[in-house]
Subunit: 351 residues, 2 copies
Amino acid sequence: MSVKTIGKFLINDLHIHLRQGALMKAVTPALNNAGIGAVFVMPNLQPPITTSDQAIAYRSELQKLAPNVTFLMSLYLNPDLTPAEIRKAKANGVVGVKSYPRGVTTNSEGGIESYLVYYDVFGTMEEVGMVLNLHGEIPSDPDNDICILNAEERFLTHLKQLHADFPNLRIVLEHATTRAAVECVKSLGSTVGCTITVHHLELIVDDWAGKCHNYCKPVAKYPHDRKALQDVIKEGHPRFFLGTDSAPHPRHLKETSSCAAGVYTGEHILAYLANALASFDAIERLLQFGTNFGAAFYRLTDADLKGASAVTLVEQDFVIPKIIKFIDDEGVAREIIPYKAGETLKYTVNA
Amino acid sequence: MSVKTIGKFLINDLHIHLRQGALMKAVTPALNNAGIGAVFVMPNLQPPITTSDQAIAYRSELQKLAPNVTFLMSLYLNPDLTPAEIRKAKANGVVGVKSYPRGVTTNSEGGIESYLVYYDVFGTMEEVGMVLNLHGEIPSDPDNDICILNAEERFLTHLKQLHADFPNLRIVLEHATTRAAVECVKSLGSTVGCTITVHHLELIVDDWAGKCHNYCKPVAKYPHDRKALQDVIKEGHPRFFLGTDSAPHPRHLKETSSCAAGVYTGEHILAYLANALASFDAIERLLQFGTNFGAAFYRLTDADLKGASAVTLVEQDFVIPKIIKFIDDEGVAREIIPYKAGETLKYTVNA
């Protein structure tokens, strides 16, 4: 049987959760030869990564686990962050600062409530060339009709205000899920980028309702929202690029009364992405969306990406594992259920 | 410590799932002296209740388990239902016919796709005075932007058409969840009623996202939708009445990758209802919403309700059990997790 070769790819994942301890060790090594060049690593650990020193130490841990991958590090925006710390972070190669509105996702209890107190920090970030990464949801507020379905749309005024006040600050609206967000980012200047996950290209609200392994924040929304995410990739808009938000949780924290938010795509991201793009006839955008647009926005150089090698993507059935086993920090046998567990993708990486 | 007495109540639950076999035996007996007069029993068993004979046999089983409760029975709308069967059902005291759109909730795979083929049946129901009970959602259809969030609103054209074509047929829009549904029912004639669950008075989308025990169909929606449900009760609209949609599932079918849809309120419905109404200052509507409006729409007589006795509702803390244990039909120990498990309500029934 002949196998159709799509091409050689080395993608960049500009939004990933790699955790810490045993879970980090369970998910990071497999990234090493998976066709992944650079990953932008989220800082929402326990405790969060708030200083350059922590970020450097975390990067060092990750590099040992996957030496060929370029780990782009971030700090967790918090009131103790100073312009001096921003300069130090920049000097140490830290790339971005992540803002979490309070309480909207995993380990975001220390998230922000107002951006005004951070204007000195943002000014310094703009000056030194760091990226501001926004989890673009406001906290739910039923008295004002705000819930997880409109929390992203209601956040967009903040994005517009920040861009107006810091026009040269590179800002990324992370994991956009709505048509409103896509239209807003398109309307803004060249310093505003936007990540899109693979699962938000495939899921709508029906797909996570009662299906815990598809439950993430922001939640997948209406079909017209999914269509807008697909369309902006299909048109090849250069400010929209891959950020998987891959977010592993042990199975027992997913299949329970209060499910942890996060979809795990992990090391199979190239296959997932090809499969998703093909579903709406956009596989010809794989190189742009998956590699080049993100690299350009983050100003990655060949030197930044020297570690990893491109891999060959082929059109061939590939069954996602049903379960990934690991031993947690307490020595307990645990499982991770990956996205599309047990399902057959139409693409795979040629070993 | 003095306990404030709210009054004596005997409520009617015009939408309840009592299941079959071991699960039926686990949840039905507790209804017997819980201040519940009549319950309207859903027919979505396996196989569904499609004939009078089945309905009578099912009623007989239920009456043995809770002899003081009046069980109002329904048939599952399906292509084999004939005008003759409707007349037989009416003669045997069957009260309604339930329509499930295909595939939208538990055991609805045999649901309807178009109402036109049922017009003979509906005409006979109108003539003999049976009630048509509508699960008011259309199936999701992403190509037309239809998902579980707008499936109810998109259904309302069917409700309006049925009411226009059968103006004397009593129709109940079951478990309304949206402002659109409330406004639609209000706009229609006196033969159109609407049930509202307790949990939809309290939950929004945030409350079932990742929280399987609050996941039901139709799903709870925006805060403004919840407000509309509360408001129509607060204003005392006589065509809106209690139907809990109490729907027990064993825990292992809830806390899993594909969660069964249903919230279990069961025998504590009077306490739940008082607690919910009090949360939006509407406890004075308890008698109307919980008892009288439903009885009037269903034309229940004192003779229909002779079995049960009113119970005394008091303002006193009441902790909902965390777990209800039962042995399933295979002899396996199972659990049901009730709504608000482990939480403290402010009202209880005085034993």
